[in-house]
Amino acid sequence: MTGDRRPWLIRAILLVLLVAGAVAFPKVFTNPAVTNYGVLALIFVTVASAWNIFSGNSGYISLGHAVFFGSGAYAMGIAARDWKVQGTTVFALLPLVAAVGAVIAVIFGLIALRVRRHTFIVITIAVFFIFQLSAFNLRSFTGGSAGLNSPFLNWPSAGYNTPFYYIALAFAGGTIAIAVAVRRSRFGLQLRAIRDDEDRARGLGVRAMRVKLTAFVLSGAITAMIGAVWFYYINQVEPQTGFDPLFDLLIVLMAFLGGYGSIAGPVLGALIIEPGTLWLNTQPQFSGGYLSEILLGAVFLVIVLFVPRGIIPTGGEWVMRLRTRGRPAVVPAVAGAAAVGSTAGSAAAGPASTGDAPAASPASKGGAR
């Protein structure tokens, strides 16, 4: 802490530059094809960050966030249709959409969060399919397989993307701010305690169900709102686009590519993957769809197998190694760990050995059975 102001200053300058660049982006690139990339990338930055607030912090990987995304889009569409809301006032419906997302998250979470880890993943998939099927089958409510069209927005067609860009940017910025706030709070600490060892966290007085559910609801409400924005941007929603199984996979891929559980990771992942897939789909040799699918799977495999912690943590390690020229950067870490070990006794063996995976996992497996 002493006199170490410069990294803080550099960070602040970088942040200002980043924000200025993001704000200026549609002014510099006025081509709608380019701003389209920007809008969709920011929508996915929001979704991936919202996903990360719950899944990245708690360790419960949700493969059902499309439930919120699609429900948000449908809630907006149905409300606008039934109440005949037109023009820019539709965005006044966003709090309602957030409420819908939150209510769904409470019910979904009360069911799915009773079980742990991999059963949770499977239940999120099951709930996802129930929602997709409902969107297909409840014809009078959701419009069936034809889906819903968004009401007409009387915005000038030149630069139509620009307002959407700023809305998406506001959402992305807000979600990142919430993610930072969660990470620094006691709440975020409790979530990460659950990720590391739920039983121990519970034993230490963390109300696991309440904490998990709160994060799930927060994440779901944000995802629902950005789903509604996406619906207005795309102008329509169908069951297979609103509730898209590939959507869930893409978010997870974004988070893992950038760095699962970190703040910047999902943002970076979304900024790489979403424009990447959009660009691939415009290339004629990828038009069949199957090649981009194979490529997506291959990228995924490479990341999980070779950069399992994502670009941000692994990159940070490399930078650290360059800076310190191979010497260990933080020597006191060992002493610190030893001190913790001596005070907390055998209890410290768990957290201390989390990095030492092969030794830790069979032990925990044996213990759990």
């Binding site: 199984p245 891929l253 199957y290 799977g297 995976a357 497996k365």
Partner: protein
């Protein structure tokens, strides 16, 4: 009405037998390796396409073709385990394997699209079209043959697990990997063989699925979500549970289809959710599994 109901129940039980075989493969892989193999669904479809190629190109009978497709799928399973699964370590291993197998599923699906295209196909043979008349309704022979083969293979798997040395190693690894290692079981080899066997059964499942449904490379998602629901309902890692849950779920779906064809699959998942509300470990799941 009563006749339709009996038909639906018989249908459900016979189809459930085949799903049981696929689900046993999945739950076995989970029990031994702590992996949920998301690729199981698309592997079933791959098995179906292999049968399709053999029957249309080489004119090999579907059931004879199994003698080729089962070993092929076994080898594919071993290769997937060797190339990807084996390399994963760490505290987040189970979640990572889910993502890895999902990625494998995507790649296989993409390859199937490239080779076979997106059009629906269905396996054809004399016994897929001709039916037998029992209890006042017609039942295609494929349901009966498929059920017999599936039950035979489930029994064979049971004997393998409970009557052979390999089976004892597999069960020991399922109970406690460390202890198994300590008594001299080559856990890695057991894991590879289990993955191979778990995938090999998809050849049979695929043949039956392809003969009773039109399928395309995208059909794997529907299958895997059903299979996952079945093994969770039965209790992860429980073979008896997988058998019971398959027959229960498929019969339930089949019976609901009589009244509400569009909602049958939702009932399937709703049943999963309801059962988990009452018993979070599934029908026959051990309580400890829940703690993982």
């Amino acid at each position: 009405m009563a006749r339709e109901l009996i038909h639906a129940i018989v249908d459900g039980i016979l189809t459930g037998g085949v799903y049981a075989l696929m689900a046993v493969g999945l739950t076995l892989i989970f029990g031994v390796l702590d992996i949920i193999n998301i690729a199981q669904g698309v592997l079933v479809i791959l098995g179906a396409y292999l049968s399709y190629s053999l029957s249309t190109r080489a004119h090999i009978d579907l059931f004879t073709g199994l003698l080729i497709t089962i070993p092929v799928m076994f080898i594919i399973g071993i290769v997937i385990h060797w190339a990807f699964i084996r390399r994963l370590r760490g505290t987040e291993r189970t979640s990572m394997t889910l993502l890895v197998t999902y990625a494998v599923a995507l790649i296989i699906e993409g390859i199937l699209y490239k080779v076979y295209g997106a059009n629906d196909v269905q396996l054809q043979a004399s016994y897929t079209t001709s039916s037998v008349h029992i209890f006042g309704f017609y039942l295609p022979w494929i349901f009966i043959y498929g059920f017999i083969v599936a039950v035979g293979l489930v029994v064979a798997l049971y004997l393998l697990l409970y009557r052979t040395r390999l089976g004892r190693s597999v069960r020991a690894t399922m109970q406690d990997e460390n202890a198994a290692r300590l008594v001299g079981i080559e856990v890695n080899r057991v894991a590879a063989l289990t993955f191979g066997i778990g995938v090999a059964v998809t050849a049979v499942g695929g043949m039956f699925f392809g003969a009773t449904n039109a399928f395309n490379p995208n059909s794997g998602y529907d299958l895997i979500s059903r299979l996952l629901a079945i093994i969770i309902l039965g209790g992860l890692g429980s073979i008896g549970g997988a058998l019971a849950a398959s027959v229960f779920m498929l019969t339930l779906e089949s019976v609901v289809t009589v009244w509400q064809p569009t909602w049958a699959i939702a009932v399937f998942y709703a049943a999963l959710v309801l059962v988990l509300l009452i018993r979070p470990a599934g029908f026959l799941g051990r309580k400890a599994v829940r703690a993982q």
